[in-house]
Symmetry: C2
Subunit: 283 residues, 2 copies
Amino acid sequence: MTVTPPASLANRVIRIDDPADPRIAGFRDIRERDLRRRHGSFIVEGAVVLPVLLDAHEGGRFCAESVLILENRLEGFAERLERLPADVPIHVAPRAVIDAVAGFPMHRGVLALARESEAASAPLDFHAMAGNALVVAGQAIANHDNMGGILRNAAVFGADGALFDAQSCDPLYRKAIRVSVGGVLRVPFEHGGTGLSMVERLAANGFTVIGLSPRGEHDLETVPIEGRTALLLGTEGPGLTEGMLSRVTSARISQAPGMDSLNVATASGIALYTLARRMGRIA
Amino acid sequence: MTVTPPASLANRVIRIDDPADPRIAGFRDIRERDLRRRHGSFIVEGAVVLPVLLDAHEGGRFCAESVLILENRLEGFAERLERLPADVPIHVAPRAVIDAVAGFPMHRGVLALARESEAASAPLDFHAMAGNALVVAGQAIANHDNMGGILRNAAVFGADGALFDAQSCDPLYRKAIRVSVGGVLRVPFEHGGTGLSMVERLAANGFTVIGLSPRGEHDLETVPIEGRTALLLGTEGPGLTEGMLSRVTSARISQAPGMDSLNVATASGIALYTLARRMGRIA
């Protein structure tokens, strides 16, 4: 081996020199996997997001199944990798092998295959949430960048959970995870059902649902909020329908007159920031 | 012609049936042109952004040089296209021809080649700006999505101008224009110089420069602002250097403790919203 593994990992590191090695088949052609999970597994990549997975592993929502790492990145991750259960294989390979496996130059060089544990696929635990809980809900969020952006913002502003209807894309798509900078792995989420069923469940659990729209009745700065609050976002382009807006408390973000609306991920950032601030959840 | 052009355009529409027609050479393989302009021209595409260009044409900052449009989209754009000077050719083609020219399925089907007029390449006219002017400045904004997002937000919140240093990518890259939803064509901008020279020019023109950083000294909600205000954003990842932060008024966006920072485009949205609101520029 060109690079000697740290002593703590010497006994469990598996050296890979052939991109066709079946032990790393799960990492093959991951670019094509942007669009779906393979047998329920998903890809986590990068020096920022991988630690979130490894930490989440301990929390129980997600499990690493297998790790593939550039030989010269091993030392930097040794402390976290040591804590992985012994049955999680840690594969080490030189750059040419990693690039050949992935199907493109894999600059980050740190990858894991992961799956959801039962804890992650359980419904959100509304009973455990505080009286000033804040969650975000998305209806038909179709774009992976926006999904990732919303979950990044949810993590940054400390949201207690996220809900996406069945028309929304999978929050565990590779690109959504990457754009979320690990937010997908930090913020408990649900994915399924209809927009209407989300709104009904939130209301039944004591949430005031704030539907964000350029046509919203209230200004976001002054919309009445009290107790648990959910921010509801609509699909890219058309946004929330009039029918949905009529069922919730609608609010708008002030902007210059006559301009197009904000990107939905940016709007989620402004609204989560404003709500978290107004609710005294951030200093 | 399969679709008859509106009478008002019948005399000037040029029917294209061959993707290799030299009259539309400027539209060839536009995907590869994500990364640079060709002979100073840039590509504007889509039913949302093209009208911004056509309107900007009248304002004088940008000129359409040539239009290429799907035959069945012509009628919807007729009113705007009629106002184009007679020397701007309007090419009409069926879908197969447009896709073959562009090099990929061109769903939007409305394209223009455009160039900057002298007015657009002139420095920002600080003298003409109001006493409560708001501008945004970016240092080493390298990602086209972020460049487009910052300029979209600048347009939405009515910024008077934008400055980007020479290390930042070209705001007129195809993808930046698309992500900006035309904001690039609405907000006057400058591109060049160093971060330091931007800050010095802003200060010389009476701007308080607010440097945004997770390590900022003031909370964005209470940072002292008076008169002209500039929001300064740093490069993706590392953000503004300590040296730069020491030269400006530094401010942070409150967030949950221990989380990673916001994406720079999202941060620009939150900060422009907050500053525009605090300055009384948006209702």
